[in-house]
Amino acid sequence: MMEERVEIRLSGSGGQGLILAGIILAEAAILDGKNAVQSQSYGPEARGGASRAEVVISNDEIDYPKVTKPQVILALTNEALNKFKDNLAPDGIIIIDSSVKKADTPYKIVQLPIIETARDRIGRSMVANIVAVGVITALTKVVSREAVERAILKRVPKGTEELNKKALYAGYELVNQLT
């Protein structure tokens, strides 16, 4: 689905690691030889409160750095889904966690147990963001698997590399099971 400009919005609450997920996707795009801008929006709270990260990927130079009509939305909370569900590109997809209540929207919704997979299969709910990166990568191919793995290894704390790789692969698997 690599169009000229791809916009991704990752939304949920503060502390879910969405900004890091955005950084990883954008850095992977750059490793793939594309241009990318990652930006973010959050409130004054350290944890909780609405949080979102945005990524714009393009083969060209990126002028406007923010997301307007995303092709991909990740929503990890009900609040995030309800806020963003009606404003996507025509072929856009919304990826939601299984803890999120489906809502009416003209866009395709893909519901997957992202948080549960991180918590129960990997053993650390903290890596839900990396599971989500795996889901987005496998579902949209917006970045290459090689680049996303390199980007993760560059950005996660030392000693957690294997844990995060497992989380990434678990994300791929969630998508494989869809078909």
Partner: protein, 375 residues
């Protein structure tokens, strides 16, 4: 990725630029959305033998900058609106004592605490006139992570060349966005002029031909006095009217006589443009996108992006106004740069503002909406 190609935040690129420029001293008090600058400086400066101090507040931070600068260091700090307000008094001290230094203001929405995590571009006039008294100041504004890096080097170069504080006016969007950046190592680095005379003959405020006095450093053989009071070439207080007039005019002229060198602008699609957008910082990104959308629909639109806000690029704006039907000035405030554009254009063509103060970026479509309304 090549060693010097990085994926960084604007704030991080500011620190990289400062280090490339030779900065060795940072004093500051962390504040959103500038804190990443303090965080990274606290790691990077000690690693290269520099000094990082977390001060008790922004008043003291700015005072420490003046001291470090007088002791020979290339010094910088970073803050946002509330801290920038506190720094104003000692920015005046830096202007009066001619202490080279760089002050980064990553603008957020105000007044006062305001929307602490949201962007604005409303400190344009404060950067120009925040400290009291007639004075000149250099203010630079980046619109990308690459510009954060390159303009930061330029900011230090101007500070050193003209013995002046330089304000680096970023904003939350540019400061927090991450982009690819090439950490160029081919930009020339400027260092302050050191006196050539023997220590007893040194007059710390006797200008060279360029209006800038050579600067010795505290702790050297050159003993000198730097005063916030009106002083003469010896550095000691002097209240004679002729002297005061001479000093204030020199402090102004040492900047304004070098406008050609200091003023940095970028132009996109302006060659034949009838619609000229004038913008800076994050808004310039939206304006650039708007220009390309307009071009696709057959409109002759172009963008003048201001990297130097002060001294204001009068001549460049005037030239473009000569060929344009109208100008549009998108900025995240209720109209600050637009008043300068109008001053220069002198009502020869209409100038319209696109203004937004809700803590969100101006979108290209809001700019297009305004243009469709007036075209």
């Amino acid at each position: 990725m090549h060693d010097r190609i990085k994926f960084l935040q604007g704030n991080e690129a500011c620190v990289e630029g400062a280090l490339t420029a030779g900065a060795s001293f940072y004093a500051g008090y962390p504040i959103t959305p500038s804190s990443e600058i303090a965080e990274l400086a606290s790691i990077r400066l000690p690693a290269v033998g520099g000094v990082f101090i977390q001060m008790e507040d922004e008043i003291a931070s700015m005072a420490a900058l003046v001291g470090a600068s007088m002791a020979g260091a290339k010094a910088f700090t970073a803050t946002s609106g509330p801290g920038f307000s506190l720094m104003q008094e000692n920015i005046g001290l830096a202007i009066m004592t001619e202490a080279p230094c760089v002050i980064i203001n990553v603008q957020r929405s105000g007044p006062s605490t305001g929307l602490a995590t949201k962007p604005a571009q409303a400190d344009v006039m404060q950067a120009r006139w925040g400290t009291h008294g007639d004075h000149a100041i250099i203010v630079l504004s980046p619109a990308s992570v690459q510009e954060c890096y390159e303009l930061m080097i330029q900011a230090f170069n101007f500070a050193e060349e003209f013995r002046t504080p330089v304000i680096f006016l970023s904003d939350e969007i540019v400061g927090h966005m991450r982009e690819k950046v090439i950490l160029r190592d081919d930009i020339p680095i400027v260092n302050r002029k050191f006196p050539k005379v023997d220590p007893p003959e040194y007059r710390p405020y006797q200008p060279g031909e360029d209006g800038v006095p050579p600067l010795a450093y505290f702790g050297s053989d050159y003993i000198f006095h730097a005063s916030s009071s009106m002083h003469d070439e010896t550095g000691y207080p002097n209240n004679v009217p002729d002297n005061a007039e001479k000093v204030i005019k020199r402090l102004y002229k040492k900047i304004y006589d070098h406008r050609d060198e200091i003023i940095i602008t970028k132009e996109y699609e302006t060659e034949d443009a009838e619609i000229i957008l004038v913008s800076f910082g994050a808004s310039a990104r939206s304006a650039r996108e708007a220009v390309y959308i307009l071009r696709e629909s057959g409109y002759k639109a172009g963008l003048l992006q201001l990297n130097t806000l002060w001294p204001f690029p009068d001549e460049k704006v005037r030239q473009l106004a000569d060929r344009a039907k109208f100008m549009v000035v998108p900025e995240m405030n209720l109209g600050q740069i637009i008043s300068e554009v109008k001053r220069v254009v002198e009502a020869r063509i209409p100038v319209y503002g696109v203004n937004k103060v809700n803590g969100e970026i101006i979108t290209p479509y809001e700019i297009l909406g305004k243009i469709k309304e007036v075209f």
